[in-house]
């Protein structure tokens, strides 16, 4: 399997290198869909320039990266293109290994369940086969590396690629069962953009499951491990934050990075829901709606963890997807990360209801973004509403996509416990409804 992966990597790197050399790189790095005020490369360079001038990068409102990023690029600024290509490679390989491992687990569990005869007899066609699962890891790597969104993000040198790499490493460590490394990478991801905080729950559930500790609030073993993991997580977070403090000897980065993410002062258009909403918001409702919108991102983690407590990896996918839809400054790079997981759930295909429509909408929106942007900003023949309409549609499509996968997953689980061909009481063919 290493050979095809290498091939995928080589092709991906070639595409990126070619684009970096072309005149498109400049154009792409200015696109608001690809870079946001949080992760634009231009702003990283600006932060470094400010440091060189002896001005704190956080004294202004242009630079919003974390201190570690600025110090990281302080050393590798000349090799930025390679760094971003490597980051994409790391993400892809990490996801590849993680999915490979996860599939092995899934298959083993399925084997045990089959041996214990826990599945209804008509569910055989829902069973996963090694043949089908064999290429899933490769597809994941391919979905990530060859996704135009990832390529754009990488060519624009958006630091989103680095965050994705950190999250991918976190997933890999979690799935491999290394609690410490998982906590460290989760802390890094949280440090970078707060929102991965919600990945704490799936990681914890997965690790508990691995250690055969039932999620039971009355068990001391559950609490012991939870506190262990939380300690590791918050400990490493504290270490990283303190390290940042000592790098700059000031706490300025806290309001400038996290305050900026949470209070959304920069209304530069992007593909998310925040910018136009808060540009048009009545001043006295602003705080209320900011709270509502930010709570909205974090809130889903509680009910989702309860509902999906037996399926932590799917929970992880859901959380990443929800973050990338509802976060304050989303870019296409965030979307690319959760889209890389779609091949993992390819066995749900038969239960998806509107995948065709959603795909069409996503494709059409991706094409319309630059068109309407041009009409608004350059041609002046359209106004902001046009671009806003497309962002709305794009988000609706994403929501439908994610909820469709969620629906399909739940439905498959239901069938696995109740049988595939359900009958009504009167013997007729039954239809499943949510009640």
């Amino acid at each position: 399997m290493a050979a095809p992966l290498t091939l995928v990597l080589i092709v991906a790197v070639t595409i990126r290198a070619a684009l970096f050399r072309s005149s498109l790189a400049e154009l792409i790095s200015e696109r608001v869909e690809v870079v946001s005020p949080l992760n634009a490369w231009k702003r990283v360079v600006e932060g470094l320039a400010l440091l060189d001038l002896g001005v704190s990068p956080y004294s202004g409102d242009v630079f919003h990266e974390t201190p570690l990023i600025i110090y990281f690029f302080h050393f590798v600024i000349d090799y930025a293109e390679i760094v971003f290509m490597i980051a994409d490679g790391i993400t892809a390989v990490a996801l590849y290994l993680a999915v490979q491992h996860y599939n092995k687990n899934v298959f083993r569990k399925q084997k045990y369940a089959l041996e214990a005869d826990r599945y209804p007899h008509d569910c055989l066609e829902l069973m996963r086969t090694p043949k089908e699962m064999y290429y899933v890891p490769l597809k994941v790597a391919m979905f990530y590396l060859w996704n135009p969104f990832t390529i754009l993000s990488c060519v624009a040198k958006s630091t989103c690629g680095l965050n994705n790499a950190v999250i991918a490493l976190f997933i890999l460590c979690t799935i491999k069962g290394s609690a410490l490394l998982s906590a460290i990478f989760l802390a890094l991801a949280t440090y970078q953009s707060i929102y991965p905080l919600t990945l704490f729950a799936p990681a914890l559930i997965y690790l508990l499951q691995r250690l055969y500790i039932p999620v039971n609030l009355r068990r001391p073993s559950f609490w012991l491990f939870t506190s262990q993991y939380a300690f590791m997580y918050f400990g490493s977070l504290a270490v990283i934050v303190c390290l940042s403090f000592f790098l700059l000897t000031s706490w300025d980065f806290i309001p400038s990075v996290y305050g900026f993410i949470l209070s959304v002062p920069d209304l530069t258009p992007n593909i998310g829901l925040f910018w136009y909403f808060f540009a048009e918001m009545f001043e006295h409702f602003r705080l209320f709606f900011i709270c509502v919108f930010q709570i909205n991102v974090f809130f889903y983690s509680i009910p989702l963890s309860i509902k999906l407590k037996d399926h932590p990896v799917f929970l992880m996918f859901m959380q990443i997807a929800i973050i990338s839809i509802f976060k304050s400054y989303p870019t296409v790079g965030d979307i690319a990360l959760y889209m890389a997981f779609l091949p993992v759930w390819s066995h749900l295909y038969r239960f998806l209801r509107n995948i065709f429509l959603v795909c069409c909408v996503l494709l059409a929106c991706s094409a319309l973004f630059p068109v309407l942007w041009h009409l608004w900003i350059y041609a002046g023949s359209a106004n902001s509403n046009f671009y806003y309409a497309i962002t709305l549609l794009f988000n609706v499509a994403q929501i439908l996509l994610v909820s469709d996968y969620f629906y399909a997953y739940l439905r498959r689980e239901h069938h696995l416990s109740h049988g595939l061909y359900l009958k009504r009481k009167d013997g007729g063919e039954a239809t499943l409804v949510l009640k």
Binding site: L53, T268, A279, F293, P303, K307, Y378, L400, R424, K425
Partner: protein, 647 residues
């Protein structure tokens, strides 16, 4: 960043900057009480020995012996006088008797474009000391409204200007007192002030009331503390920029309602003296109009033991005589102001009208009526100028008609203007509403001397500057600024401040470019006419420009050899501050009619997400059973009520 040598240079520069006002106007209004009295005597020998006594000797009048002690310094620029009148003991006498002193002046300069530049200066000097915290309750000539403001807010210096129109340096030369379009306010507070921002906020609101201007729009988003460009012009060596506040309102429109309160500050109002000329409908029917108030502490006497307060009110107007004169090149006081002068302000110790006749030594260019026997020479902005003087305190000036109506009739087209040595332009490049680039071009027309300039740019926060894109090029080569002070903006809190010192090579154009990104604002933050664009205030260029007089190589032959080997610093350069054009930048706008729609639509999308997840989270899959018919359900209700098993 800045090496030690450049800091040392900055300090020297700052010291020279503080002299700018005296240098600019050293001929017009020379006081004995300048902060550094050594500078003027230095000027005298090098400059004025060049006079050829045989040719057109400057005739100096000492008609009024009572005022001599005040006047003699005005004439100190000529050496003859310095020799003729050694009177050190007389100088001190009048200062001890007068508490207030008021002088008024009008300078008329025919410009090469054919326009007329009229510059009024009114100076009130008051030997009192607000700095000591004494309560001053009796006011004589000094306006009480301003005196109270100074003492209440512990102001050390206050400079305010209101300008309508843009000064065209390339057509008109340098102005005596530069000012940017719109309103400009800069204040040095005393170092005893603890809450400078609070005092500044209150002060702007008070001044807004005094001058009927929108100075109350000055807040933290357009206030900066420049580190080097604005130094105190009066007494005092506090140069800590924490006590300096500088703000510009490029959008401010200046009109009669600003002029009226300004006129009320004059001791004679518009009843007598030069101020009778100030008729609003004429003053605002002009190409350029600028009124200013400068308050600063100056020395009382040579010893400088005690400070006195100087209030300088200036009004600069450029009249377009071509269009109003029906093509005839002729102007008079009456034509410009629809008034003539009949008397000096009785409260003024000096009241004079100067007409710049430098280009017209033999009367071949224009004819000036009535001719004045008095001439004076002075070095203004590095150039030696000759002026005809009309002393209004002298009854003979008004002649038999009891009124003075200066009239100039042009005989020939004006000759070549000496090109100003320093000139600048600014514009925004780029298209679309996403990004842009500010270009500032600074021209040095000096044929062989390079000199440094301090450039100050204040850019509002909604144009996000990227300092790493800053390039400074002259003659197609990178020109690294020797000093950069950059303060990045904070959204909705403070603007960008970029100050840098650039060395301008001789005879070159230096281009400073910096890229910016246009922010999308909240819909309530746009002005009522958002598609008109947003103003960016003028950038300020402060420089010590090599003097034209020093450039004049002919003089070397006339000078005594012993005086001319080493160039004298004060003589060889003079301070200039020039303001570039303000910029008008468009920002992307949201649709202002849509707030309800946007709130509804976005909330709908969030609700779609929330709803679909909620649905999946709270419900379970169930086999759909066909619902029983209505009759059966009704029957079941009744049976349940009766306690009978359901159907």
């Amino acid at each position: 960043m800045a090496p030690r040598s450049s800091i040392a240079f900055l300090l020297a520069f700052a010291a020279l900057c503080s002299l700018q006002l005296c240098e600019v106007s050293d001929d017009l209004d020379q006081t004995k009480s300048e902060p550094e009295p050594f500078t003027e005597p230095n000027q005298v020998p090098v400059d004025e020995k060049l006079e050829k006594p045989g040719e057109v000797p400057p005739i100096v009048s000492y008609s009024d012996p009572i005022e001599e002690s005040h006047d003699d310094k005005q004439w100190q620029a000529t050496e003859e006088e310095a020799i003729a009148k050694p009177e050190p003991d007389e100088e001190i006498a009048p200062l001890s008797t007068f508490k207030d002193d008021f002088k008024e002046e009008l300078v008329l300069r025919p410009l090469h474009s054919g326009d007329i530049y009229a510059s009024f200066q009114f100076r009130t000097l008051w030997d009192t000391d607000f700095l000591q915290g004494k309560r001053v309750s009796h006011y004589h000539l000094f306006p009480k409204s301003l005196g109270q403001v100074i003492s209440k807010f512990s102001v050390r210096e206050l400079h305010i200007s209101f300008t309508q129109g843009y000064w065209r340096t390339m057509q008109w030369g340098q102005p005596y007192l530069p000012s940017p379009p719109g309103a400009e306010l800069w204040v040095w507070f005393q170092d005893t002030v603890t809450d400078v921002d609070g005092a500044w906020k209150e002060l702007t609101n008070v001044l807004s009331g005094i001058f009927c201007a929108s100075l109350n729009f000055i807040d933290s988003t357009n206030t900066v503390h420049p580190s080097a460009s604005f130094k105190p012009l009066g007494l005092g060596n506090v140069t800590d920029p924490r006590f300096l506040r500088y703000a510009m309102l490029p959008r401010e429109i200046v009109c009669t309602e600003n002029l009226t309160p300004w006129k009320k500050l004059l001791p004679c109002g518009t009843k007598a003296g030069l101020a009778v000329l100030m008729k609003s409908e004429k003053l605002f029917h002009s190409s350029f109009h600028s009124e200013a108030v400068h308050i600063r502490p100056v020395c009382q006497d040579v010893d400088c033991k005690a400070p006195s307060w100087e209030l300088r009110q200036t009004l600069n107007v450029v009249f377009d005589v071509h269009t109003s004169g029906q093509g005839k090149k002729e102007w008079s006081l009456f034509k410009m102001f629809s008034r003539t002068l009949t008397e000096a302000c009785p409260l003024a110790s000096s009241s004079k009208v100067y007409v710049d006749v430098t280009d017209n030594p033999q009367g071949e260019l224009f004819e000036l009526l009535p001719a004045s026997p008095l001439l004076t020479q002075a070095v203004v902005l590095g150039d030696r100028r000759t002026y005809s003087v009309y002393d209004l305190t002298n009854k003979d000036t008004f002649g038999s008609t009891r009124s003075l109506n200066l009239l100039v009739r042009w005989k020939a087209d004006s000759g070549e203007m000496v090109r100003p040595l320093l000139h600048s332009e600014r514009y925004v490049a780029g298209f679309g509403l996403q990004t842009g680039e500010i270009h500032t071009l600074i021209y040095n027309y000096h044929p062989y001397r390079a000199f440094p300039v301090l450039l100050l740019e204040t850019v509002p926060w909604y144009l996000r500057l990227y300092i790493h894109t800053l390039t400074v090029t002259s003659k197609n080569k990178e020109n690294k600024p020797s000093y950069i002070h950059y303060q990045p903006s904070k959204d909705r809190l403070r603007p960008h401040l970029l100050e840098m010192m650039v060395q301008l090579p001789p005879n070159s154009v230096t281009e400073v470019t910096v890229q910016f990104e246009r922010a999308l604002l909240k819909w309530t933050e746009y002005t009522p006419d958002p598609n008109h664009g947003f103003y960016v205030g003028s950038s300020v260029i402060s420089a010590l420009v090599p003097s034209m007089v020093a450039m004049d190589t002919n003089n070397t032959q006339e000078q005594p050899l012993f005086s001319s080997f080493f160039p004298c610093k004060e003589e060889s350069s003079y301070f200039v501050r020039i303001y570039t054009e303000p910029l008008l930048v468009n920002l992307p706008t949201p649709d202002f009619s849509m707030p309800y729609n946007v709130i509804c639509l976005t909330c709908t999308v969030v609700a779609v997400g929330y709803g679909s997840f909620y649905n999946l989270l709270t419900r379970t899959f169930q086999v759909e059973e066909p619902s029983p018919g209505l009759a059966k359900r009704l029957a079941n209700v009744i049976r349940r009520w009766r306690g009978v098993p359901e159907l």
